[in-house]
Amino acid sequence: MRPARDDAARDTGGAIAQLGERLNGIQEVVGSIPIGSTTASLKDVEMSRGWRTWLLPTLAIIVVLVIGGGAWLYISQDVSAQIGGIGGPFTLIDGSGQTVTDRTFRGRFMLVYFGYTFCPDVCPTTLTTVAAALDRLGPQADQVQPLFITVDPARDTPKVMHEYTAAFSPRILGLTGSEQQIGAVARGYRVYFASHAAAGTSDYTVDHSSILYLMGPDGRFVAPLRTDQSAGALAAEIRKDMTER
C-alpha cells in the first residue's frame, strides 16, 4: 500500500511538474515568439485547420441527419394522420335547411373552411380570397365546392349562413348544424375553436383554426392551404393540387 501511495504522490508531483513545464512553455511562447516557435505555431494552426475542415462538415451532416430525420418523422406522421384522419364523414344543414353529407359532394373537390358569421375580419377576408381564387380558376372552379362551416351554430342558422356566404360568392355553400354535428365535423377536421366573450356586451368572438382544407373528389384530404395568401397564389395552388391527382 505504501509504495503505491508513494507512486501516486510521485505521479501527482510529476503531473504538477509537467503542468508547470507546460505553463512555462506557454509563458515562453507568449513572452517571446522566436522564429522556430512561429513555424511550430503555423504547423499547429494547419493541423487545427485540418481538424476543423473535418469537424464542420461532420457536424453539418449530423445536423442535417437529425433535422432531416425529424422532418421525415414529422411528415410521415403527418401524412399518415392525413390519410387516415383529416376529414371523414359529416352530416350538416345547408342554407335552405336541407341535410347534406360529405357524400353530397363526391366527384368534386371540397374547399373547406371553418369560421363564423360574427367574425368581422379574418372570415370575410378568407371568403373574399376564396371567391377571387375561384374566379381565377375559370371553368376548373366547377370542380371545386367551397364549404364555409360555422363553428358558431347557436347564432349561425341556415338562413344566416346562406345570406352571409351569398354576399361573397354564390359558389360558396354555408353549412351549419346541431352542436353535435358541428362538434363531429370539427373533430374530423381537427379544428380547434373556443368562444370568448366580447367585453361589455353579450357578443362573443370565436378563436378558430384558420386553414383551408382541400379534399379530393373521393372525399379524402389532399392538402392544407394557407388563408393569408393572395387569391392568385391560392388559385395556383388549388390548380396544381387538382392536376397532380
Binding site: T128, A131, T201, S210
Partner: protein
C-alpha cells in the same frame, strides 16, 4: 411581402393626402369598411394612421352606426385565428400604422342596421394626446380587399 406591398401601396396613396393636410397631429387616410354580409351583426373598419406629432396612442372610436367600436387585432398562431381586444394602438412619430384585413382593425358591434355597399358613415377616433379626428368611412363590397 404582402404586408410590405400593401404598406408601400398605402404609402403611395397616402402621400397626396399628406400634401393636402399639412396640419400637425394625426392624419387618417384610406378609411374603408366592408359591407355587412347577411345578417350583418359586426363589421370591421380599416384605415391608415400617420402621427405628425409626438408619439401617441389611438385609444378608442365611436360611430353613430354601431353601439360599440373596439380596437382589435387578428393574429394567427399554429393555424388558429385569434382576435384580441386592444386597449390602445401605439403611434410612432412619422410612422404609418396600418389597419388592414387580417391584422389590426376596428370592430363594430351592435350595428343599428346593415352596412350597405356605397353608403358612408361618420367615425370619430380618440387619442391619448392628439385632438379627436372625425372622418367619413365609405362602405365597400363585402368581398372587397381594400380601397
Amino acid at each position: 411581402m404582402t404586408y410590405l406591398t400593401l404598406t408601400a401601396v398605402l404609402l403611395l396613396l397616402a402621400t397626396p393626402a399628406a400634401a393636402q393636410t399639412p396640419a400637425p397631429g394625426i392624419e387618417v387616410s384610406q378609411p374603408w369598411a366592408r359591407a355587412t354580409a347577411g345578417a350583418g351583426r359586426s363589421a370591421a373598419v380599416y384605415f391608415t394612421l400617420r402621427d405628425h406629432g409626438a408619439a401617441d396612442r389611438l385609444t378608442g372610436a365611436s360611430t353613430p352606426v354601431a353601439g360599440m367600436a373596439m380596437l382589435h387585432e387578428s393574429t394567427e398562431s399554429n393555424g388558429v385565428a385569434h382576435m384580441r381586444m386592444l386597449n390602445a394602438i401605439e403611434l410612432l412619430p412619422e410612422h404609418d400604422t396600418v389597419l388592414r384585413p387580417g391584422g389590426l382593425h376596428l370592430m363594430l358591434t351592435g350595428l343599428n342596421g346593415p352596412l350597405r355597399q356605397g353608403q358612408t358613415f361618420s367615425l370619430t377616433l380618440t387619442f391619448a394626446h392628439a385632438a379627436p379626428v372625425t372622418l367619413t368611412v365609405p362602405v365597400l363590397a363585402p368581398g372587397a380587399a381594400g380601397p
